[in-house]
């Protein structure tokens, strides 16, 4: 019964969403309120039906209903309870349910927030959002039905991909999808503004906060993905320029560009065409990312299986891009800038450069990701583009972006005077240069000199210096009116939450930049085979192999190695890296063990071993400054939360 109910709910939700999209568009043209109400009810109905789909699928998972194909391939009787729930979005079909569900929630929020405001834009916004929802429901109906039956019914299922059996997999997809689907809201407002012809600042003011929310979830998703990669995959890294990672990174870059260029439009009424293009591009890239990971056209460690689904996504991508950009083209006349660029030395041009670099980074990532296709089309050779390409091209771009992060917020609008430049930048620039010189000299002394890290450090000090300078001036001004330091800070954060939220996000990114540069430059590793009782040494850590033990878990067998790690500074502790043997996997899965630290992590991966436990191969890594990534993520989170708060200076 479950599959039939689920399929019925899917079809009904599709019909409702499609009707809602049409009804809202018709009401926008004719002004008939009854049609709009009907569209709203359709949105509520679609949300309720998709919620029912999720409930039915969960029920099928919890009751081991292997007559459902999706349940059979993503769970087995040994799968622990939590992973029976997360298996819901562990693979292709289920992830589309989750996607649709989040989109339907965003749609509901839009209905609740804007149905009494924005009378002109709102019907089109609703129509666009329901149209997109209808597409995802169509995918659930035809090419990737999650409730497809499996015959003959197997006695047990295959089980969830062992790599996904991790806490990171519970949160990572949710954050990522909230980011991806969140960009639908600004996109819908942009399209509505283009259709109505109100291409001024209005849609931007409405959607800025939505963009920050989506941007924030995407950033969080990327960070959790990095954490998952670090502590599950067992290679000691957090980013590998895998096509799927790239798919999530590209919209992040273009959305970041938008969040900055939007300020130029707000302030100077420039870049209208550019901002609309960025929002369309960002949304297009979220669809492209979904397409890339689900079409099978590019091989990746975590792409889902293929099928006709790719054709659906490509057709939809074509519709979105051609439709929106044609609409944009037909409105070009209205999108002329009212302001002009007065000087190269100005905040406008700093933001323009920042946009240029961000879009260039997005483009190189795109180019590297699809290059295997180009190569196969042109030369008939399958090749893969690895991390060296992406690093080589992107490192200078990211360094330039770091520099601009210091310049942008403080340089004057229109035309910066020499006085303005001296007042805002002299001290931070000097601080940066001095830091660079001292850091290089000190690091040389310890044999750890590294041009890239020193450059990053100098830039970080420069940017942090500009932020500190701005903060102290603002607080000093408030203190004159009688506030204490704490009260002044508090008022500043609340009254100018957007500006200072942005600054805190920048600080988070500085911390992440130090983490990336430090971990790339200073991490060390080695692989050794140790006899039982034998020790080895790496970067001040003594590691002794104490023996192996085997155990049987609910859905896999496990061999655990015991290692005593001694370090003069941190004392002695035990680490237990393991190898897990899942019947459905050809190769065993490494379960790493690690001890995280502020400056360095010790990280152990168990390799081959003798079955009698007499010796084992282990990979030791001392990963430096990786924790700064997670720390920076927390700072970034706080800043974004502050920036999202309603602006206290104006009525919400």
């Amino acid at each position: 019964m479950i599959p039939e109910l689920g399929y019925g709910a899917t079809v009904a939700a599709f019909v409702l969403a499609l009707w809602g999209a049409v009804a809202a568009a018709m009401s926008a043209r004719t002004g008939r309120a009854a049609l709009l109400r009907s569209g709203e009810r359709a949105a509520v109905g679609a949300w309720a039906l998709i919620t029912a789909c999720i409930a039915l699928m969960l029920y099928a998972f919890l009751t081991f209903d292997f007559s459902v194909h999706y349940v059979a391939i993503n769970t087995n009787r040994g799968t622990p309870f939590y992973y029976r729930i997360t298996a819901l979005w562990g693979a292709l079909e289920g992830s589309i349910i989750l996607w649709s569900w989040m989109l339907s929630i965003y749609t509901l929020i839009v209905v609740i927030q804007y149905r009494r405001r924005q009378a002109e834009l709102y019907p089109w916004v609703l129509s666009v959002m329901l149209g997109i929802l209808a597409f995802f429901l169509l995918v659930m109906t035809i090419p990737a039905p999650p409730f497809e039956r499996l015959t003959p019914i197997p006695a047990d299922g295959r089980g969830l991909n062992p790599l996904l059996q991790d806490s990171g997999m519970i949160t990572h997809p949710i954050a990522l999808y909230l980011g991806f689907t969140g960009f639908t809201v600004p996109f819908a407002f942009a399209i509505a503004a283009l259709i109505v012809g109100r291409t001024g600042e209005e849609w931007i003011t409405i959607t800025r906060r939505w963009t920050i929310i989506a941007w924030y979830f995407l950033a969080l998703g990327l960070l959790i993905g990095g954490w998952w990669s670090y502590h599950v995959l067992g290679w000691g890294g957090y980013w590998a320029w895998d096509p799927v990672e790239n798919a999530a990174f590209m919209p992040f870059l273009t959305a970041t560009a938008f969040l900055h260029s939007v300020m130029v439009q707000e302030r100077r009424r420039m870049l209208k065409l550019w901002n609309l293009s960025l929002i369309i591009l960002t949304f297009g890239l979220t669809i492209f990312g979904t397409f890339l990971t689900r079409s099978g056209i590019i091989g990746s460690v975590h792409s889902f299986t293929q099928g006709s689904i790719g054709v659906f996504f490509l057709a939809f991508l074509a519709l979105v891009l051609l439709g929106s950009f044609s609409l944009l083209a037909s409105r070009v006349e209205r999108l002329r800038a009212e302001g002009v660029l007065d000087s190269v030395v100005s905040r406008e041009s700093a933001f323009l450069l920042n946009n240029l670099f961000l879009v260039a980074a997005a483009f190189t990532v795109f180019f590297g990701t699809v290059f295997p296709l180009i190569s196969e089309a042109v030369r008939g050779v399958k090749i893969s583009v690895g991390a060296p390409f992406f690093n080589l091209v992107n490192i200078p771009v990211f360094l330039a972006l770091l520099f601009l992060m210091g310049v942008g917020p403080l340089i004057a609008w229109r035309r910066a005077s020499a006085e303005n430049l001296k007042r805002n930048f002299l001290k931070p620039v000097l601080a940066g240069i001095i830091t660079g010189i001292i850091a290089q000299a000190t690091l040389r002394l310890f044999g750890m000199g590294n041009v890239l890290v020193v450059t990053v450090m100098a830039l970080v000090v420069f940017v942090a210096g500009t932020i500190a300078l701005d903060y102290f001036r603002a607080v000093r001004a408030r203190r004159r009116s009688g506030d204490g330091w704490l009260a002044a800070t508090w008022n500043l954060l609340l009254r100018q939450n957007r500006r200072y939220g942005g600054f805190i996000v920048h600080l988070g990114i500085l911390v992440i930049a130090l983490g990336v540069a430090g971990s790339q430059a200073w991490s060390v590793q080695k692989e050794v085979t140790l006899d039982k009782g034998q020790s080895t040494e790496l970067a001040g850590y003594q590691v002794r192999f104490d023996g192996l033990s085997a155990s049987e878990e609910s859905n896999h067998g496990k061999v655990t190695g015991a290692f005593t790690v001694t370090n003069g500074r941190a004392g002695t502790h035990m680490l237990y890296p393991a190898k897990k043997f899942y019947p459905q996997e050809q190769t065993p899965i490494a379960a790493v063990d690690y001890r995280l630290g502020f400056f360095e992590d010790i990280y152990l991966v168990l390799g081959d071993f003798a079955s009698d436990g007499s010796h084992a191969t282990v990979k030791l890594q001392v990963n430096r400054m990786v924790s700064w990534l997670w720390l920076g993520g927390v700072v970034l989170t706080l800043g974004a939360a502050l920036a999202i708060l309603p602006d206290a200076r104006r009525p919400a």
Binding site: L321, E333, K382
Partner: protein, 177 residues
């Protein structure tokens, strides 16, 4: 260039990208060439679930369809299982042997699988995974077609169908041995 001339360049710029992505469908990521094709098939000797010895050497002169499977391989191994038995029934008197090699499995589950699909062709477990390694198996199911002179001629990744089996076997049977 004026804005009106430039305007349609924006949507037009999207088209080459879309064409490239559409081209991506023509490529098959599952088509992974095997370096074994045309080479002599690696010899093996195993003991079947029924307890009789089974070696590739002993099948010389016959066309061999060598199928690697596991009971946990859902749904592909379940999909192809009936087709394997049908192929065996249709070709066993024509100089073809179907051989199943069960890898990375538990014995009880494997036996249950065999009795469920009533497989009557020889099936053997590969307890140390040696045969799977020799043939470079990286996922189940995989099927190798070995000609009567003992050379690997085709490799099929994923569930086998009657048609695919028939096509390759007929081609191999037509060749002079």
């Amino acid at each position: 260039m004026s804005a009106s001339r430039l305007r349609w360049a924006i949507p037009a710029a999207v088209i080459p990208v879309l064409v490239l992505l559409a081209y991506g469908f023509k490529t098959d990521p599952r088509e992974v060439p095997s370096p074994l094709l045309g080479r002599p098939a690696a010899a093996f000797s195993l003991t079947t679930f029924a307890g009789t010895p089974l070696s590739l050497e002993g099948l010389r002169g016959k066309v061999v369809m060598l199928n690697f499977w596991a009971s946990w391989c859902i749904p592909a191994c379940y999909e192809e299982a009936p087709a394997l038995e049908r192929t065996w029934q249709a070709y066993k008197d024509k100089g073809v042997t179907v051989v199943g090699v069960n890898i990375q499995d538990k014995e009880a589950a494997a036996r249950e699988f065999l009795s469920r699909f009533e497989h009557s062709f020889p099936n053997a477990p590969d307890p140390r995974g040696r045969v799977a390694v020799d043939y470079g198996v990286y996922g189940v199911p995989e099927t190798f077609f070995i000609d009567s002179r003992g050379r690997v001629r085709f490799k099929h990744v994923g569930a086998l169908t009657d048609n695919i089996a028939r096509r390759h076997l007929d081609a191999l049977l037509k060749e002079p041995s």
